[in-house]
Amino acid sequence: MTGLIGVVAFDKVWNIGRFIKYGLLALQHRGKEKIDIYIGDGASLKKITIRGSDASRKLEDLELDRVKGWIGIGAISSTDSMESILISREGLQIAIIVDGHIRGMAREIGDRLMGKIDFKRDLPELFKEIITDHTGAFTLLMISNKGEMLAYRSYPGIKHLALGGYGFDLAIVSTETAPIEILGGEVKRSLYPGEAIYVAQDIFESIKTTNHTERTVCSFEYIYLARPDSEMDGVNIYEFRRELGELLGYRSRHKNIDIVVGIPDTAIPYAIGYSNATRKPIEYGFVATGQKIRTIATSDPRERIIGIQLKLNPIKKIYRDRNIALIDDSLVSGETLRNTIKIIRNKAGAREIHVVIGSPKIKYHCPYGVNLPSQENLLSSKATDDEARKYIEADTVTWLTTEDIEELFKRYNLAPCLGCFTGKYPLKVG
């Protein structure tokens, strides 16, 4: 998974390195092992690359403002779904970052653009011409050494890109809206599927590459991936999760539950919703140690276990002899829940543990770049409901259905991609 950020200053007095840096740090919940940054000053482009499990920590220490420039793009990622490339030809340089799933796309788009560029036609015109040949679930950021930025969200919008501004001085694009606010900016809107935004110091254009207007968005983004302080296509992520939690709560009002506990951090909004609906008190169940680690966004399995254990030290007293509704956003491999239940049952003395999952059963891999384990490692794929329940050692397990998710998206006039739940993918996988 990947987070993208792009910044253009309308005035050359700016040095935007810090904006790129903090923009990327605000996206590190999406992955943080691979960082590519390009910064330009209207004459040339510079590349900064950071790799390794401590990449985001290295970024924190990096004094990016030393690289002078007023235009830049960056990506922070956990997978190879992110590609970036810098191409130079006859005094022209373009840097492209793609968050997608088709190998070699950044290079191919770059080469095609470079092959066509002449002095008569400008970048947006050429881009519009070539991009219709490239379908898939991807977002793209591009800058040139002439000080232009192009941001693109492919149709039908499975990956998200938002546009924001900072006063009279900056245009900001980002995978999520939260980084725009963290940079002090104002969120304008999500890009339309198939829309390219072209920004330079003297121009702003929205380029439509399709006449279709439907949006199909990644449901996993809403359920797990995005920050709860982000908005996507008009949906407040926190509210979305809380509403799903409420739905689960209404359905299990009959259950004999004493307290509601959410697994931090993602499941907390679900737990709040669940508690609202069941009128059972929510408790603060776990305390984390050290840096926050998102279990899916970490590719090293050992790191993942360490992550789970460090972030879930229980406040034992609240569990003793209680019936617990334990809320999590998703059940992937089952590792997190298995570990968590072991702690609160064996060590803290909970009586019954009713697991409530804020998503349908994840049974299939994601071809669009969400790092789900392969099918044989997805608990819901290989096990029956009861086997899954027994594997994690819960008293009951409740999931949402795909219809529940579709229903909620429908209220926002959106159609979701439910591929990881159904195995039916809205786009061909190239």
């Binding site: 005035d11 007095v13 810090r18 904006f19 009279f168 245009a171 963290i182 110091q201 702003f204």
Partner: protein, 479 residues
């Protein structure tokens, strides 16, 4: 009756069109630095003409006035007021509508404006510091946070830098940008002006929603016009650099949906107090227009951002479809100091939207925006019920219409609602054609529901805060 307008922009074109509607059929003369195609047509139709001199100065204007012998002269642009056109023409007995050099100081020197408001304790003032020396200004900038940098003098709207400063982790970058900008103000913007000592004005940054209130005064009576809102960002969705204004919205009626009548009244009272203070300070009576660029701020409520000693552009063009009063009468009453007899009447059943179209390169890189040929299908624009107002275009010797690098022209449209007027303006601007393929831009979103509801939301936010601050007696106080 003969009326001469000095100036060559869309503002003067709008004034000319309103004069043309006068029941007294004045002959309209235009004294200008170049031939604005719109003014040219109005003048010729009325039996007057355009007299254009590239190096126009007050003496040349006086000479021309002596030849025409107009019954009324209107000095439109601020720079002409700063240069003393009004003073010279008045001293030779001409009736002139427009601020004298001393009174126009309220616009020319942003430092004077702030100090006047401070000295007379006029509400709607802000905290500020003014500097004659760059190093002193830089010293101050290094120590201060959330501030606005302005050139000390009105410089055609250029050079204002608003940098919100809340995030500690970005502070250093913002400080550097401010320092860089302060250097540019002194080196580029202020360097060409010899008529002011101050270089840089630093004000506290305000948050809220901006609007303009234009007033006509004879020194004792102040007649307010409706609230109009300009859109300074170059690009859609309020993105991009600050311009002279890409369009403005008004109506229906005197208010806009984001402002309360109490705030409108309060704003007018601020303007009245400013006029009183200014006249006292200068020792002259004000004849002309005083426009206030204001903001409903979370800090103070209605607050003055800037004053203009003339009609706002593009705001004046919003008056075209709505003004029912004979503007010539208003001007004459003002000049004769009998404005108390006049009343401003407007059509309150319609809303108006003005939109400007500009060549790519405006406002940051005007050299590439210059001399591009355009064609305007005015008949089609007329058919939509819109007015065409020429601004940054001139007619060359072979009759081609070419850009000057600024906003090329404006359309002023009306409708039952702001949204409807906005849609008409978008249609109207489709009839402007670039003849050499150069890109032109305008803002389709001005007057849209989305933008307007955003303003309402911002104003409500600011209102909540300033009311809290007033109730708790927190204005102009620090611990």
């Amino acid at each position: 009756m003969k009326v001469a307008i000095i100036g060559e922009g869309a503002r003067e074109h709008a004034i000319a069109l309103m004069l043309q509607q006068s029941s007294r059929d004045p002959k309209i003369y235009n004294i200008a630095t170049y031939r604005n195609p719109g003014l040219l047509r109005v003048a010729e139709r009325s039996g007057g003409k355009v007299i254009a001199y590239r190096d126009l100065n007050p003496e040349i204007a006086l000479h021309i006035a002596n030849e025409i012998s107009p019954d009324l002269i209107i000095v439109g642009p601020e720079e002409y007021q700063f240069k003393g056109y009004v003073d010279l023409l008045k001293s030779h007995g001409f009736p002139v509508f427009g601020a004298t050099r001393a009174l126009a100081e309220i616009e020319k020197s942003k430092v004077y404006m702030r100090s006047l408001m401070e000295r007379y304790r006029i509400p709607g003032r802000v905290r500020y510091s003014a500097f004659k020396d760059l190093d002193e200004a830089l010293d101050h900038i290094k120590r201060s946070g959330d501030v606005v940098l302005k050139p000390a003098r009105q410089a055609g709207g250029k050079g204002v830098k608003v940098i919100s400063d809340f995030q500690e982790y970005l502070k250093e970058s913002k400080r550097e940008a401010r320092i860089e900008h302060a250097r540019e103000i002194v080196a580029n913007i202020m360097a060409s002006y010899r008529d002011i000592d101050y270089k840089i004005l630093i004000e506290e940054r305000l948050e809220g929603v901006e609007y303009t209130i234009m007033t006509i005064t004879d020194g004792s009576t102040v007649l307010p016009l409706p609230v109009i809102q300009d859109h300074p960002h170059a690009f859609e969705m309020d993105l991009g650099p600050e311009t002279g204004g890409m369009g403005s919205i008004q109506g229906p009626g005197y208010l806009l949906p984001f402002i309360t009548s109490a705030e409108y009244e309060e704003s007018i009272s601020i303007i009245r107090k400013t006029i009183d203070a200014l006249q006292k300070d200068v020792g002259e009576l004000y004849t002309g227009v005083l426009s206030a660029q204001m903001m409903i701020t979370s800090q103070y409520g209605p607050t003055v951002i800037e004053y203009y000693s003339r009609f706002g552009d593009p705001e004046v063009s919003n008056l075209l479809p709505i003004l029912e009063t004979d503007i010539l009468e208003l001007f004459e009453y003002a000049v004769d100091r009998k404005l108390s007899k006049a009343k401003i009447e407007i059509r309150e059943d319609i809303a108006t939207v003005v939109k400007a179209i500009a060549p790519r390169g405006y406002p940051g890189n005007r050299s590439i925006a210059t001399d591009h040929p355009i064609k305007v299908d005015e008949k089609e624009i007329d058919r939509l019920g819109c007015y065409t107002l020429y601004s940054g275009v001139y007619i060359d010797d072979s009759g081609n219409m070419l850009t000057t690098g600024s906003r090329a022209l404006e359309v002023s449209c009306y409708g039952d609602s702001i949204e409807e007027a906005s849609q008409k303006a978008n249609l109207a601007l489709n009839h402007v054609e670039s003849l050499d393929g150069w890109r032109f831009f305008y803002r389709r979103d001005i007057g849209s529901k989305t933008l307007l509801s955003k303003r309402i939301e911002q104003a409500e936010l600011a209102r909540k805060v300033y009311r809290y601050r007033r109730e708790n007696d927190l204005l102009y106080r620090s611990l």
